[in-house]
Symmetry: C2
Subunit: 195 residues, 2 copies
């Protein structure tokens, strides 16, 4: 979290992201944000005009948005366990990259409309990819053919749940860490879905 050698506006954006994720939009003052960034409140307003625009700028700047469809069509090897592992890891990578943004969009949904959509666009895309993957796999006879959408949904929900549970720094179920969970949970689905 050291932003000592960043430009002023980046320091402000980062400070805003961290503080708003922790205490909510209404729970943080512009003075607090500026102080955290090591700058004066005045500078904040000079750069961004308003508190709202500051948050929006932070979202725009730090929202990780990347197409991944092509990536997947190349990486999939049509082995159920291996591919599920790839999907799971990719999912957690995306979610972790956008961790703060997701925290904010959870707390502030209803007040800052549109934020939730943006943080969930890519996971949604992954669900789509996975469903189609399941359909193709069952056509190849490498998987049971029933309910591919629901199987994909269940898999994604499991990973979503694990991520959410982890969001506030591992408070609940502290004994279990992410890596072994990914490994084992993938095995469960690979075993259940094999023909």
């Amino acid at each position: 979290m050291d932003s000592s050698k960043l430009g002023s506006s980046d320091r402000l954006l980062l400070a805003a992201l961290n503080l708003i994720a922790a205490k909510g939009y209404n729970g943080v003052t512009t003075l607090e944000i500026a102080t955290e960034a090591g700058l004066s409140e005045k500078t904040l307003f000079r750069q961004f005009g308003s508190k709202q625009k500051l948050l929006e700028a932070a979202f725009d700047r730090y929202h990780y948005a990347e197409e991944m469809k092509k990536l997947f069509s190349e990486k999939l090897v049509w082995d159920l366990e291996e591919d599920l592992l790839l999907v799971s890891k990719t999912y957690h990578e995306i979610m972790n990259r956008n961790r703060k943004l997701i925290q904010i969009s959870l707390k502030e949904e209803g007040q800052l409309p549109g934020f939730r959509e943006r943080t969930h666009k890519h996971p949604l895309q992954l669900l789509d990819i996975l469903t189609n993957y399941f359909i193709t796999m069952s056509e190849k006879g490498k998987m049971i053919p029933t309910n591919p959408e629901m199987h994909a949904f269940s898999f994604m929900m499991m990973n979503f749940g694990a991520f959410m549970n982890d969001l506030d720094s591992h408070k609940n179920y502290a004994t279990i860490s992410l890596e072994p969970f990914i490994q084992e949970s993938v095995k469960i689905f690979a075993r259940a879905l094999q023909p």
Copy 2:
């Protein structure tokens, strides 16, 4: 949400719960809450003294807290699929009953400490029960014996994810509803964990 024939304090508690769940503690004014309850702001303060105490009272009043260990020891029939179905349904029942409370504890964690713990106490208890159930089941030879904790955790995370996804009124993945998900997801685990 019609609270027309309730007492004043109950109307206030319900209004507070609904509004705070929707807009966050700092996003709602005492005037708003009182108006929503059809009462004057003055009455709110006469009854509860402060905004904080109002929220705490709402938590105490509406937090569904019930022991369930005995319940389970009676209801389990030692058939994997049937019992997983019971656990899953119980989980969603508890979570839905406390839906608003959970929404609040998510948004306000970090500001209102202790709330999160209370909403997660019972789900945590369920994880414990399920782990022990898996251990016993594998001793009976009705289940694969590896990693019972992780299997239980994966199952709970899947349900937690589905619930979280549903929290803001079915916005994402709108085509999928809860009941079929429960049925199918239970089948997945039953299939994966059978010996």
